[in-house]
Symmetry: C2
């Protein structure tokens, strides 16, 4: 169980101790909340299956998508400092999560150095991942943001042993647009365009990446350079 929730190189004894912490797991129906902004922070949550979106509300009531969590990823790391969750976490589909009581995890990690290391590593990764996001937004045009988003999902699925080229977009176009700081219409237009030039194929929420190199090229050229990989049409 612990292996599934918090994969980390521990010996059998240590693993048992961790297991005793992570007993509960819950099934969350689509649209249900795991936690809400301001709730007092008690647990980290690991996704065993399904997916979750996290968003905050601005002072004027607008939604701001902050994260999508996929299988194997940990939610709630940003809440440690303030002891309150900063976002609303909602299941995008029926989702199974592990509940990890943080206080006990903290205690245990004092006794198991490898566990402490893994926690530091996890948090550091999260910082890096947020920094990368910062790098895309604002500095990249709409097409690049979307290409980077698709590649990011592809990598994350691939890491967990799933196909890097075919996967399910569990979030809506509206959510994607919000996450990338674009209008829904722009996301839709660009998906259509990429589909036309055979870089990707889309059937509703199911996506196939046909030309991975092309996506990489799109991401890596400057904001307004334009030598895309479209040697296709006509």
């Amino acid at each position: 169980m612990a292996q599934l929730c918090l994969p980390v190189g521990l010996n059998v004894t240590e693993l048992k101790q961790l297991d005793s912490l992570i007993q509960k797991h819950r099934l969350i129906q689509k649209g249900r909340f795991i936690y809400r902004t301001g709730d007092s922070f008690t647990h980290l949550y690991a996704i065993r299956s399904g997916s979750v979106k996290a968003y905050t509300l601005t002072s004027d009531g607008q939604i701001q998508m902050t994260d999508f969590f996929l299988l194997g990823e940990i939610m709630g790391l940003d809440a440690i400092a303030t002891k309150r969750y900063h976002s609303n976490a909602v299941a995008l589909q029926t989702t199974s999560i592990c509940e990890i009581p943080f206080h006990q995890l903290e205690q245990l990690s004092l006794k198991i150095p490898a566990l402490q290391q893994q926690l530091f590593r996890l948090m550091s990764q999260e910082i890096t991942s947020e920094q990368n996001l910062v790098t895309w937004l604002g500095r990249k045009n709409a097409e690049q943001r979307l290409a980077a988003f698709l590649l990011n999902l592809s990598n994350r699925y691939h890491q967990r042993g799933f196909s890097a080229t075919e996967f399910h977009l569990s979030m809506s176009r509206t959510d994607i647009a919000n996450y990338l700081g674009l209008a829904v219409e722009t996301v839709s237009r660009i998906l259509s365009k990429l589909s036309e030039q055979k870089t990707i194929a889309i059937d509703k929420k199911f996506i196939r990446i046909l030309d991975m190199d092309c996506l990489h090229q799109i991401v890596n050229v400057g904001k307004h350079d334009s030598l895309p990989c479209i040697a296709h049409h006509a």
Copy 2:
């Protein structure tokens, strides 16, 4: 010494142990590097005085500003996971830093629960701070990004006991523009505009915030709503 570098509620004995780790401090001249992308990760660095900018290079050689570090802030947290620094850290002025050997800090934090907690807290804060940045970029227009940037600096200086309304912009306009994903010209134009409407006053790199409420209003309205606080001119 430790108090200055890693403020945390420890007793005298614990503080001594921490002190013994954090012996060295270095003076870095303006323009000098503290670390570079790819250097192997050995230390965290805390700023005792001065300021530092951190940037990465894109695949096509463009600079991407990722962070500004001010007095009291910790650099290098993103390097823990990969054991390599992810960015280039350069002093913006003559800067004094504490060197904190991370491996030893990790060891010590196994023995001092309060220290471990403080480290978790620090990293969690960093995650939150990056998330906030993500929230601005891409979702806010140029004026809002700049207003948010100024308020952010104001808060950070204020937290450390300095004036919230008057401070030195140690980074260049070019750096600010890059950080916010804007063109230098846009930053310059907006600073001029805010200056004209008496929201701020600028003398070269020295800035005074004259109307803090106005800045907050700018940040908090929607991306294209426009009811600014300009009841000033003529």
